[in-house]
Symmetry: C2
Subunit: 322 residues, 2 copies
Amino acid sequence: MSRRALVLGAAGFLGSHLCRHLLESGWTVTALVRDARAPYVVRRLAGIAHDLRLVEGGAGDEGVLDRLVADCDAVFPFAGRSGATRSMTAPLLDLAANGASQLALLESLRRHAPHVRTVFPGSRLQYGRVLELPVVEETPTAPVSVYGVHKALGESYHLLYARVYGVQTCSLRISNPYGPGQDRADQAFGVVGTFLATAARGETLRLYGGGHQLRDYVYVRDLCRLFELAVTRPEAIGDVFNASGRGGTSLREMAETVLDVVGSGSIADAPWPDDAAAVETGDYVGSAAKAARVLGWQPAVSLQDGLALTWAELRTDLAGTR
Amino acid sequence: MSRRALVLGAAGFLGSHLCRHLLESGWTVTALVRDARAPYVVRRLAGIAHDLRLVEGGAGDEGVLDRLVADCDAVFPFAGRSGATRSMTAPLLDLAANGASQLALLESLRRHAPHVRTVFPGSRLQYGRVLELPVVEETPTAPVSVYGVHKALGESYHLLYARVYGVQTCSLRISNPYGPGQDRADQAFGVVGTFLATAARGETLRLYGGGHQLRDYVYVRDLCRLFELAVTRPEAIGDVFNASGRGGTSLREMAETVLDVVGSGSIADAPWPDDAAAVETGDYVGSAAKAARVLGWQPAVSLQDGLALTWAELRTDLAGTR
């Protein structure tokens, strides 16, 4: 019998890729979305919608959760709100979306489905400014944005419920994820997607602060493999893992690779906007050693290859909508 | 001109003592309470109600906050919900009371009153289980209760708003506070108050786990002096301080002192109730060295003296209600 997954926020960037990955791995997938006919949902789930059990509802709706969790083997609580800069302008909304929603899920699991595995989609932004690279999981966390604070909160909930109630969960602190489908103008959805979309229009990629800041970029399909391991390997339970890419790349280097892959666009320096500067963490490169050691996971896709794959899909999309 | 304080949750244990202390120190005090005629409010504010500017309203009500903060020099956000065990049975309520309320206040301050000083009433429960005593502020925090998670969250908000917006705040991680007015049957309000009330009835103080667990008890009037320093000394801003008592005392030793002071009651061992065991941290003794070094504060009242003072008030109350 195939394993049954419940994906909350299934039409999000990460959620939609995970649905695809789980279907390919033989899972039965229930996908919760707010509105199955919304254009972005239709677009994100194109090609897999008929293989999913699509359910409409709010991920924070207790009745919906209680009913759905009892009926699955693993739940992926990906519904939430992205973006550090954005979190500063609507902090209480961010709390509801990224904090309270996780607590509601954990309450549902401990009451109705203690056998169900889950995993928290954490963020490298939990760490805040770091002094030593690469960053290991023992590094103290001191977030510098409301988003980072709420990701730390969500993780605290998951670890607490694992310890006190035996809820079978763990946390992945995701670096900069990228891949097809992230091509939104709003940088809250990831700088890689923004840069690809900008270059595709032949416009200028703006690098703040010289573009020297290091990041590690992790390809979304690599991430999906790790999320599957996180809800299937017993070693994961109660623990925290960096979900990091294959080492550090400067923003400038990433931008140059984007120009290379897309074949258009240009690069220019730009001053830091105040709102982005306020939540900037400085260099970040996570160590993926623990996930390798404990879960046998390694990010397989290089930035060059990942950007090429992402561009290939984006180009097809752009051709289709022209 | 006298300084103007706004105390949220002014009828709480800590809030009512702070109102008294601030009045004695020459402050003008606005006291926000939910219902000025509720019996516990009348009792807690007995003797000072006429010296306060008493305002009715919810501490989470944006309109109320925006209006009141613009009109004061310091705000003490003490409205909240006590009790680690209790937080586990109503975690979302605890989030609203101890987390969201702090975020709402900070938003109000950054928008309407950036000149106003404030201070977060944190808790030693933010640390969770600790390995080394006494605990210093650099110790990583890993709370083992929803209450502890939300106290850590509140502190994160305060430090973030200090860093990003220049809100003039700091955090005090309070050990076990005790003093007059804490004599409720519910242990959420402090084990010292519970023990005194129990002994006064000539009943048995129940010690879980042999009573060997170390705690540090801090007398409420010592705490009030520290809270005043926290909103007046510039060195406090953006920093975190333990608000600890004068060293470690075992639960049994504290209970024996209670019997001594009260002159009635008895002690018996009892097994840990499951709900209390789940959130138990083990020994805790905080170091008050940083508050001494930076703010010049030291807890002055010994446990013996503090219990005697507390018992003197409780005895008078009991005589009055007989």
